[in-house]
């Protein structure tokens, strides 16, 4: 992955910035140029709370390249308080104890790195929401 490709996504990956349709209020993450709900083309930045509950998940045992050292690790779809669902890893817990419905919160974490470019990719991962 190239530097610019990651840099372009930093508002979403570092700050959980979504786009909120100025007409119908539909939140899109990542942001889009056209609202998938009503077709409107103007948005305001909406910062996601990052809090939500686990909708479904898997424990990856045979990992894709670049993630081998992490396995086994959990990846899930989390339904956020904002009413949208996003996919991410779930960490800081034993994946074997996870259950759907668990309360989670997004935290800033290292995802991967690119040895060739020296890039370290940061973004959100979900951790158990213990109210801190």
């Amino acid at each position: 992955m190239e530097v610019a490709k990651h840099w372009r996504e930093t508002p979403e990956r570092y700050r959980l910035e979504a786009g909120k349709c100025s007409k119908c209020g539909k939140i899109s993450f990542p942001g889009r140029l056209i609202c998938p709900e009503c077709g409107y083309r103007e948005f305001v930045i909406h910062k996601l709370s990052g809090k939500g509950k686990l909708d479904t998940f898997t424990i990856i045992r045979t990992a894709p390249s670049g993630f081998e050292d992490l396995a086994p690790y959990a990846v899930g779809i989390v339904e956020l308080e904002d009413g949208i669902k996003i996919l991410g890893q779930i960490t800081d817990c034993d994946p074997e104890t996870l259950k759907t419905g668990d309360k989670l919160v997004a935290k800033f974490r290292r995802i991967n790195e690119d040895g060739k470019t020296g890039m370290i990719y940061y973004a959100y991962k979900f951790v158990p929401d213990v109210g801190i």
Binding site: T58, R61, V75, I86, G88, I111
Partner: protein, 385 residues
């Protein structure tokens, strides 16, 4: 629109074909198809291939394949829709014949996946997901289908054994198919004791990495009649549809909307309902996929895919046989070839040439081919006249 018939089919064996290159596979399938059709005429070629670039460092198949097929100067185009590339290539060929633009069109699907390591093959396939918001986070296709599998199990009570029975049934069929990559029978235990890939899915829930090619020759029904083709196999309906590329953005991840819509469109075009269809080849890239697809097609109610499979509905001798070929699971899944190979199997059945896996009185068939986690889908309805 002109009515369109399939007058030739041809397939390579599916498997790890070390001695054969991308171009060798494509040419072999095309030559078998022409021999089967009994004609040498090709006015145009459509090619389904997901990613010759990532698997073989080779794009521009629209020049390579006509060249090595001895058809330099014939127009050709590659069609890409991830794992639905093959079915979409047949759809493109259909449109060319139906519109009157060309009379004889070869639709060819090919994928040569074993020229890269398993790691790189999985990475290449992962490009069919949302690269920036799915693959980036360390999830691959077994993982995405595992998300659906867990949700299906929790909502409907689908069991681990029911998922395994899809693989058991498809291997039983595939053992009767000379083209199969893994033509051996397996048991529920084989699946449950295989290595964990992405919970709740194990290795034997997943279709394999495969080399292979398949081709069909399309022409008008009038031309096919002139050639004296009996039985005449026609494409009476085609439907295609798309959905969000990211699984998380669907309102309900258990609803394969692209499959539902493609089926409605194909059946409407054919003037049929799902009750008029006798059997189907469906896209069982993972065991859960077959269960969700037979629900989306309306063969069973939502949530009933698992129990119906366990009850034998979809077996070769069941009321609605699914994947008589062995499916992607046993026959193999060279992604760009898969949609074309499904149609080859349907034609073989409709011609009553399927030997030990022949479905009795086969007259109407449906083939369902999808890309990614259901982000694209193409469905064909075939009939023997």
């Amino acid at each position: 629109m002109r009515d369109v018939a399939i007058i030739g089919i041809g397939m390579t064996k599916f498997g790890e074909l070390w001695e054969k290159s991308l171009r060798d596979l494509a040419v072999e399938a095309a030559l078998k198809c022409l021999a089967d059709a009994g004609t040498d005429r090709i006015d145009s070629i459509t090619i389904g291939c997901m990613t010759g670039g990532l698997f073989n460092g080779q794009e521009h198949l629209a020049s390579l394949i006509p060249d090595y097929l001895g058809r330099r100067n014939t127009p050709a185009v590659r069609v890409e829709s991830a794992c639905a590339s093959g079915g979409m290539a047949v759809r493109a060929a259909f449109m060319e014949v139906a519109s009157g633009m060309s009379d004889y069109v070869l639709a060819l699907g090919v994928e040569k996946m074993n020229d890269v390591s398993g790691d790189l093959a999985t990475a290449a396939l992962a490009t069919a997901a949302d690269g920036d918001y799915e693959a980036f986070h360390g999830i691959n296709f077994p993982g995405l289908y595992a998300l659906m599998a867990r949700a299906h199990m929790e909502k409907y009570g689908t069991t681990r054994e029911q998922l395994a029975l899809v693989a058991v049934k498809n291997h039983r069929n595939g053992a009767l198919n000379p083209h199969s990559q893994f033509p051996m029978e397996i048991t529920v235990d084989t699946v449950l004791k295989s290595a964990g890939v992405a919970d709740p899915l194990c290795l034997f829930d997943c279709s394999p990495v495969t080399d292979g090619a398949a081709a069909v020759l399309l022409t008008t029904v009038d031309e096919a009649k002139k050639l004296g083709k009996q039985p005449l196999v026609v494409i009476s309906g085609i439907g295609a549809a798309t959905d969000t590329i990211a699984l998380s953005q669907r309102k309900d991840i258990l609803k394969l909307e692209a499959i539902e819509l493609a089926a409605q469109r194909a059946l409407k075009m054919a003037g049929k309902t799902i009750k008029d269809i006798q059997f189907a080849e469906v896209h069982d890239c993972f065991t859960i996929a077959e269960i969700m697809v037979i629900e989306a097609l309306g063969i069973v109610e939502p949530g009933q895919g698992g129990p119906a499979t366990a009850a034998g509905l979809t077996a070769l001798d069941g009321k609605f046989p699914i994947n008589p070929s062995g499916g992607l699971k046993s026959k193999g899944h060279p992604v760009g070839a898969t949609g074309v190979a499904q149609i080859c199997e349907a034609v073989t059945q409709l011609r009553r040439q399927a030997g030990k896996r022949q479905i009795k009185n086969a007259k109407t068939a449906l083939t369902q081919n999808m890309g990614g986690s259901g982000g694209s889908c193409v469905i064909h309805i075939l009939e023997a006249k």
